[in-house]
Amino acid sequence: MERVLILLHGDADGRLGAPAFEALSAGLRTAGELGGAAVSVGIVGHAASEAVGQLAGCGAAAVFTAEHPDLAVARYATDAAAALAVATAAGATVIVAPMTSRWARALPGVAWRLGGRVDTHVTGLTGSRSGVSATRWFYRQRMEGTLQRVDRPWVLLIDPGAFPAWTGSGAPVSATPVALDLPVSRTTVAGVEAPPAEQQTIRPDADLLFVAGAGWTKKQADGQTHTGDAESLIVAFLQKSRASLGSSKSLVDLSGEGHAVLPFMTHMNQIGQTGATPRHPKGLATCCHGEEPHVVGWRFITERRAVNLDPNCGWARGKADVLYVADAFAVMRALNELM
């Protein structure tokens, strides 16, 4: 019989975030499908005992906490040691965790220490009499596979947005603190670098992904480039729509090469083969050709529209629902007036 551990961590404020509840939902459901596998929950963080209150009514047989001031920040050495302590205390054979940057960094190493195996970016997880099956993507979202493993423990990191978040209420749960022997790390976390809130263009929770391609920086019908106009149009649209900004590799590469292009565009905005694969209900691409290396990053964008002057661009070949063959400058100007 499998023993399922749902391994979570507190955020900077000590509380469990949305990805934690999605992993909780995935783990609880899978344990139920396995015929009532024993389920425990582990929480790692500087205020883990307080975060336990968010689990009231979840039905876990046991809750373990790994609490220490050093766990206030995400750092491989300390996170791996804490996660290992919880996994060992739980005696888990299957460990379900959210695919956050913190766990993505630390848990593969924990799997190694446990002599287990690990799979990340899990988008589907099921249990049955024959065992646990996980679904994930390969070759940058080009193909999807379902796999099973014999080796245990099996660590599974659940992609954000792949499962509904657990909600519930009920009797408070009691937690068992695990003994921690955290290593002395040579790494000091100095903080977070982030653009000012009004300049932050990456918004994972936005309803719309707005992609600007390299066409914004090319010569227009008058034979001139209009990057200044492009910048003001895009910024205005982002402010009005609260969309998340994405880009193709060609445009962010231009930015990195010191060309006078869109100053707010960095590799962090890049979507596709070597960029992000965000989840948004809708996506609008402008001045972007829709080449395959970029479009693989649109795998989880449900509704897609594009504006491009080329009626034969990649978007026209089954990659968008609607392609408007139009001048993006004119369309965006009109769009900003309507928004």
Binding site: P108, R117, M143, T146, V192, H267, V325, M332
Partner: protein, 269 residues
């Protein structure tokens, strides 16, 4: 300033412009016509290699190795290009570079190869690689390589590494919401999984290429076969999702009308 021994782990991946199709075989899933597909050095591993060369240039006395596990013929093809980019010493392992191989076995093979590098100073060691690959896309191999080597100062999704005046290393890692976490490390050994960073791809340099190739060809000839089949991993299915949409191509619509149509769509009409 102290010098570094930088070992970059990176393998080959199909050229991103290629159409990929899976097929099931007796050994599990693979790509159709896999050996015929043109390959590149994995894009994130390439960034790691460029960053390694950049760092080595700043710290005199540093040295860069590239450790690659892949089919020998593919490694040779890719090295014809990569050798011209930056100076490095090549360590080749002959085995699968498939996205369906398991990171546990891959990590064990890579770590063993690193342990076998003659003259490697582990106190100055920086293990570099891509934070994910374009094949398995898991982001799990490097951490296991680090564990096997006893390197527990690890960073993933790194976009910049700079040397502090006191010899420490300052790193920024991608975290959620378009932010970077900033960390300061007292010094090597450490492991760094690179995101894209900020460096441009170096131009081809024939002189560097000639110098590299003198050592690359013998390294390829010496490439040790590495079986990395995982007996405990099975795939019940691998397929391509139905992704072709019935695209409506709207031509000759005035920009104002296009904008109105988009607004209606955004508002759910």
């Amino acid at each position: 300033m102290s010098s570094f021994h930088i070992v970059v782990c990176g393998s080959v991946a199909p050229d991103p412009l290629q159409t990929l199709e899976p097929q099931m075989g007796p050994q599990g899933p693979a790509l159709k016509n896999e050996m015929l597909l043109p390959n590149v050095l994995d894009p994130w591993a390439s960034h790691a290699l460029y960053e390694a060369a950049h760092l080595a240039k700043q710290a005199a006395g540093s040295k860069v190795w590239l450790v690659s596990l892949g089919p020998k013929a593919k490694l040779q093809q890719v090295m014809m290009t990569m050798a011209q980019k930056v100076p490095f010493e090549f360590v080749a392992l002959d085995g699968p570079a498939s996205g369906f191989a398991d990171s546990f076995e891959t990590a064990a093979a890579l770590a063993a190869a690193i342990e076998g590098i003659p003259g490697l100073d582990r106190s100055r060691l920086l293990v570099f690689g891509g934070w994910e690959s374009a094949t398995r896309c898991a982001g799990t191999t490097l951490q296991m390589v680090g564990e096997r080597l006893g390197v527990t100062e690890q960073f993933q999704g790194v976009d910049r590494l700079s040397i502090e005046p006191d010899g420490g290393l300052r790193l920024i890692e991608r975290v959620e919401g378009g932010q970077h976490q900033v960390s300061v490390l007292s010094g090597p050994p450490a492991l760094v999984g690179w995101a894209t960073g900020y460096l441009r791809e170096p131009p081809n340099n024939p002189q560097v290429g000639m110098a590299n190739m003198r050592a690359i060809m013998p390294a390829l000839q010496k490439a040790r076969p590495v079986p990395t089949a995982s007996t405990g991993l099975t795939y019940s299915r691998v397929d391509q999702p139905k992704q072709v949409r019935e695209t409506v191509v709207v031509k000759e619509m005035a920009p104002d009308d296009v904008a109105r149509d988009i607004v209606a769509w955004l508002r759910g009409a």
